[in-house]
């Protein structure tokens, strides 16, 4: 265990998940527990160059109504989504609206693609449509730290506003780092989450070129993403955002805040090996670090929200990492699900979505299934897959949320039900 001069307990006091099918985080969780998918077939591009792919996407959101015109004129959709997610989490935590700047409060935000839609619109205008000029807001809309900056301004978060761009692990690392900032006494409150709007034409084409997008048509799109299934064919890109409110236990207790869960550990590692091929050893290091910090016995982990993107290699490597850490006997009883089957892969936001789901699973003592998992690939056997239906668990104490990124960065968050707080 690492030595710390200062060690605060860190609790989750609010959360949000934005999903195209609407409703608050509880409504999203209800759908996940029921194994309902948010994946639909997306038509993209124009007639000559476009295509179709299963994806999770929002119908047009009336951002102006919710955020005002001035904010919308100076923000990319990924930052607007961040503001909506932060608003919902802030309210959920029972925090008051404020104009005061709090030097002990901050924001960590994950995004893989940042203002990609602003960049793409700009390039299209300049190169395809022959425009000579761009909006003077282009720079501040396109910059990757726009979301954290906007969230920080909205809530007077004067301590820090930091952006984490670590592909699929962005938001998990944003949350893990926020946890450490509070644990080590630098901050009292952190908004930590992520947002991404990855369905830009060029992004879709780039993923398509890697042959990693799950195929599907109108009738099959909803079950296109099939983690751990023998027929899994890849991931489904998703628009999305989620946010956690993290506070020191002392601050949360002082204001009588609702305590949803405690963050008990964060493990981070780097494969340092291959840009897309995940390595068991790197994942094992991250899981073990999260567990050692939590100081829980392995038996107390009652759920793992897997990274589970539904790639052939990735899912099998993740299961093998869990088996190595837990040992075959315990692993066989370890409930695991990959909720990306239902909410898709929201890139830099996905770690926050899955962290929020893990917190709600602990709260409700109900574990969401891997949707449409009617058969498990032999290469992914060895853990207790939660298949198709939700599972009630009475004695659950703690849970993990795994996020493993392209590039080799691994992040594992450990959460526990509130105990003595």
């Amino acid at each position: 265990m690492r030595e710390h001069h200062h060690r605060e307990r860190v609790v989750v006091t609010g959360l949000s998940i934005l999903d195209p099918f609407g409703g608050d985080s509880n409504a999203v969780m209800d759908r996940l527990l029921a194994g309902q998918s948010s994946v639909r077939l997306l038509d993209y591009g124009d007639e000559s160059t476009g295509g179709q792919t299963p994806a999770v996407y929002f119908d047009p959101i009336d951002f102006e109504k919710r955020l005002g015109k001035a904010t919308c004129r100076s923000t990319d959709p990924f930052a607007r989504l961040a503001l909506l997610a932060a608003d919902e989490a802030w309210t959920h935590a029972g925090l008051p609206s404020t104009t005061e700047i709090d030097p002990r409060a901050g924001v960590n935000w994950g995004t893989a693609l940042g203002g990609i839609n602003t960049l793409e619109d700009g390039y299209r205008g300049l190169w395809k449509e022959g425009r000579k000029r761009l909006s003077p807001m282009s720079v501040v809309m396109g910059m990757s730290n726009a979301a954290s900056a906007q969230v920080g301004m909205r809530y007077g978060l004067g301590g820090q506003a930091v952006t984490h761009s670590v592909a699929c692990a962005s938001a998990a690392i944003a949350i893990g780092d926020a946890y450490e900032r509070i644990r080590d006494g630098h901050m009292d409150l952190m908004l930590a989450g992520g947002s991404d709007m990855p369905l830009a034409f060029g992004v879709l084409r780039a993923w398509d070129a890697m042959h990693m997008l799950a195929p599907g048509d109108k009738s099959s799109a909803h079950r296109a993403c099939r983690p751990f299934h023998p027929d899994r064919r890849g991931l489904v890109l998703a628009e999305g955002a989620a946010c956690l409110v993290l506070e020191s236990l002392s601050r949360a207790q002082a204001r009588g805040a609702p305590i949803l869960a405690e963050i008990t550990g964060f493990g981070a590692s780097n494969d340092a090996n291959h840009v897309v091929r995940p390595q068991k050893d790197g994942q094992v290091r991250a899981i073990r670090q999260a567990l050692s910090e939590a100081e829980f016995p392995l038996e107390s982990i009652g759920y793992v929200n897997a990274h589970g993107t539904a790639t052939t290699e990735g899912d099998a490597v993740e299961v093998s990492a869990l088996r190595e850490v837990f040992g075959d006997q315990l692993a066989a009883k370890l409930p695991v699900s990959a909720t990306k089957a239902a909410h898709g892969h929201a890139m830099g936001a996905t770690g926050a979505i899955e962290a929020a789901i893990t917190v709600m699973a602990l709260q409700r003592k109900q574990l969401p299934p891997t949707a449409y998992l009617d058969e498990v690939d032999p290469a992914c056997e060895g853990v207790d897959h939660i298949r198709e239906r939700p599972r009630d668990v009475t004695g659950i104490v703690a849970a993990l949320s795994n996020s493993f990124a392209f590039g080799g960065s691994n992040a594992v968050l450990a959460f526990a039900r509130p105990n003595g707080c």
Binding site: G68, K69, A70, S135, P136, M137
Partner: protein, 78 residues
């Protein structure tokens, strides 16, 4: 179209300020239009009118100042 109407339209498109409250005497800072927001407003007016006001238009402090700049470029009634 008069310069004031053009500006009111631009303000309505870019901000939540009620356009009817905008008068020639209105100070831009009191309307909540700082120098950064003014950049976007001017860009929007340029796009709307298909003109370029150039980069040396100074920093008008009131709606009247902005009307004068527009009128100069468009030979409008200020």
């Amino acid at each position: 179209m008069q310069a004031l109407e053009i500006i009111r339209t631009g303000i309505a498109e870019n901000t939540d300020i009620a356009p009817e409250t905008v008068t020639p005497d209105s100070r831009l800072d009191e309307l909540g239009i700082d120098s950064f927001a003014l950049l976007e407003l001017i860009f929007s007016l340029e796009e709307q009118m298909n003109i370029e006001l150039g980069s040396d238009i100074g920093t008008p402090e009131t709606v009247q100042g902005l009307m004068d700049i527009l009128s100069e470029h468009l030979a409008l009634d200020a």
